[in-house]
Symmetry: C2
Subunit: 475 residues, 2 copies
């Protein structure tokens, strides 16, 4: 971890995030005790970092790649979360610790015209890094002409690598789905929706099946997330017709766990006994809650976020799922390497809902997972880590206390200062929109220099394929 | 220019931006002719760029530093301009060509509480990189306690370097002012405002004078921009009392030019004959105009931007000013190096006004200046170039054809596709707000690796001081 220098480490250490176990507790935060009023007081570098950056630029391959996605986590979402949880001068110990950074473009293609769609969705953007193909909004690892294209996870598995897929969303949601399935529409979670909406994929029509059925077929060594309810659907065709998808998974050798204790008890996961963790009926409940954004929200007294009382105590956090996945996938150099995708899904979902505390808590949740990934990579010495988002989102930091034509909320940050956040891309009651700005990608380890400068989301596919030796030929 | 590889160069070259000389002409654009529907078709890298990045990480000092600021040019503003002018898969030949990139934080401090202000203005942010001090909104190179602090330009000059200050704004506007003046409020352009608002700076009170008077005192070798009207004010005290500030500049040896022809005719600029270019009464008129953002603007048919008929033909563009400044400052290794700041000011001003075409045209204008700076740096071999913004801004790319609680506009891009832009941080008729997200910084040349990863705006001061050997000790 070459860039975790004294000053940086100090900042990270000083930003104490004390979350008590009790539900409903106010999230207490304290900003770094640094004098920001003097020359260089706000500097983040300790000194000349040329050598550190130079040493972080490493060519060649890595045994393992961990890709962490903050869904909807644009630069604005990162800054909002940092300001709140660590203070403006603070630093996330994970998200902000990666030594190499760049910006990438996320546009999708219009299904009809094949021209750029400047405001993409999570299906098209996930397809972009999973397959290297720009596709249309709603596409799950099919190209813009609807042709299925192999995902990174599938290619890694075909090459003999171990694979993992972790999300705080339903496992059928776009980001986990793009690594495991190929359907024309992201809504084709189970057999019923698939027959209606993605007939090309229905088993009845000789297709690959619904997202859930394909996920079972894809058979990653470790698959952890939500979405249990679709696993209760019955197969409408094929060998397992009339049985639930969960029963099918069980009959096909999967170990199935439903809570943190069950996850902790798993000793191994492999192709004989792949692990399927289903920790919620739908998406996993988020960690933090707070005030609703309102037309006059910016004028209200600033408040702190609180823990989500609806979140079950036995639900694993993203870092727990990430650590478990890594420990199950890692063969400690005795066997093959692994490819693991980890998604913090509800940054996006809470931004859609104009819920500032929700999106901040999920960003903190992702940061913990990034810390775990970096800690493993530093120990292992042969692992590359990438952290980015699929697309940017609505939330904007505006002048404290101001109101806008949209909806604002006023939070009291780790600096004990007010921060006003604006949501203004959709009318109240509607879902706030994604936004189309280029966004941050960060990397660590062999091959990570390929994210420096301006790249496109599809370059990430090429970069990871190169690192894992999956071949980089363009179709 | 190590990163201008074949594929990148191809994209840049294919994105033809044909602007005819006639005023009112539609800006015709054509996107790259690249097949975006195939695997890797949208990739921006040609292959493994590890070696390119490695070779771009250069330590040590440089003779010259050119700092280009796009005022208000957050990642969203860059993406909007690229999509419009080059197409989503296109690439700015300047802005997108710098090999090293990072993100930096831009918060200012509250004048009273000294705590972070998460949504800064151009005065505090300019003060941050000019002096290394976080200060309050409105501060022109004074710290949060109001104490004047030396700027990069002043320190470079004191060390014997040649200096330049170029802007498309009034020269008294915050970004050019922070390099040349120290006043408690950014509004203290001339003697009258200063006596009323910045009494500590008034010559009558033994102060340093108004921004304009201090700019004359600072005596950069080259100062080019707008703001002629304040130079017509009379000095109210001091040696030049009763004379206009322009007359004062003239009597103190300045060469004064007022248009492109005058600028072209200047042969040299130095401490005996510093150059003062005053090309507009206020801010320089912008290059492009287009439709107003409206409550239902997103639903209107997409249109193209047009040239601004109000822009005088004899007004120099930013690249003309930049090239002239470089040629006048460059001693071709026979003398001292130089420090030059160049600002594209009206990206911000047009974003405040919710004028998408205005902000796009000014981003294209800045890109030309960046191209010129990079071309010089590549020829010279001993120049570092930095490109960034002071703070982010309002404009967001939303779903084409959508409307929001704010104001939208629908443009037809270089891809011949619709792009809808949302402005929703202030009510109609008010000025749209800055936003507080971290934003892109890019660098080229010795020392530029210090912008990789997450830094703060004040780190840029330290970085440039180190490169130019101005000393980096913290106060």
């Amino acid at each position: 971890m070459r860039t975790l220098k004294t000053r940086r480490a100090l900042r990270a250490g000083l930003a104490t995030l004390a979350i008590t176990a009790a539900t409903g507790t106010v999230i207490a935060v304290a900003a770094p005790a640094i004098d920001l009023t003097v020359r260089g007081g706000a500097n983040r570098n300790d000194g000349d970092q040329t050598k550190d950056v130079s040493q972080s630029v490493i060519g060649g391959r890595a045994r393992n790649v961990i890709l962490l996605i903050g869904d909807g986590m644009g630069d604005s979402e990162i800054t909002i979360a940092r300001n709140y949880a660590e203070g403006a001068a603070g630093r996330f110990k994970g998200l902000d610790a990666l030594p190499l950074t760049g910006q990438y473009t996320t546009y999708s293609l219009n299904k009809t015209t094949k021209k750029p769609d400047y405001d993409p969705d999570s299906a098209a953007t996930g397809t972009a890094w999973a397959t290297g193909f720009k596709s249309y909004d709603g596409a799950i690892s099919v190209d813009v002409n609807g042709v299925p294209q192999k995902s990174l996870l599938e290619e890694a598995k075909a090459k003999g690598l171990r694979t993992g897929n972790v999300s705080t969303a339903e496992l059928q949601d776009a980001t986990p789905a793009v690594q495991a399935a190929h359907v024309s529409s992201r809504s084709c979670y189970g057999p019923i929706a698939t027959l209606a909406t993605c007939p090309e994929a229905a088993l009845e029509n000789g297709g690959l099946g619904s997202i859930t059925e394909q996920l079972i077929d894809t058979r990653a060594d470790v698959t952890l997330g939500g979405g249990a309810k679709t696993f209760d659907e019955l197969a409408t065709a094929g060998q397992y017709q009339g049985k639930t998808l969960k029963q099918q998974a069980f009959e096909r050798g999967y170990q199935i766990v439903n809570d943190a204790a069950g996850l902790a008890g798993v000793k191994r996961a492999n192709q004989n006994q792949p692990l399927l963790g289903l920790f919620a009926s739908g998406n996993l409940p988020v960690r933090w809650v707070g005030p609703e954004a309102l037309s006059d929200g910016g004028k209200k007294a600033p408040v702190r976020c609180t823990e989500n009382p609806e979140r079950p105590a036995n639900q694993p956090t993203l870092v727990e799922m990430t650590n478990k996945a890594i420990s199950l996938l890692d063969t400690k150099r005795n066997g093959p390497g692994f490819f693991l995708q980890v998604e913090g899904a509800s940054i996006d979902k809470q931004d859609h809902a104009a819920n500032a505390c929700g999106q901040i808590g999920e960003t903190v949740d992702l940061d913990e997972a990034v810390q775990a990934a970096l800690a493993f990579a530093a120990r292992d010495g042969n692992t590359s880590v990438f952290v980015t988002a699929d697309h940017a989102h609505t939330s904007q930091i505006v002048e404290a206390g101001s109101v806008t034509p949209g909806y604002t909320v006023n939070l009291l940050t780790a600096d004990d200062a007010p921060m006003t956040i604006n949501y203004a891309t959709a009318a109240k009651g509607s879902s706030m929109q994604h936004t189309g700005t280029q966004l941050r990608i960060a990397g660590y380890g062999p091959g990570a220099a390929n994210i420096v400068g301006l790249t496109d989301q599809t370059d990430l596919n090429t970069t990871i394929r190169r690192i894992l030796g999956l071949g980089t030929k363009r179709s």
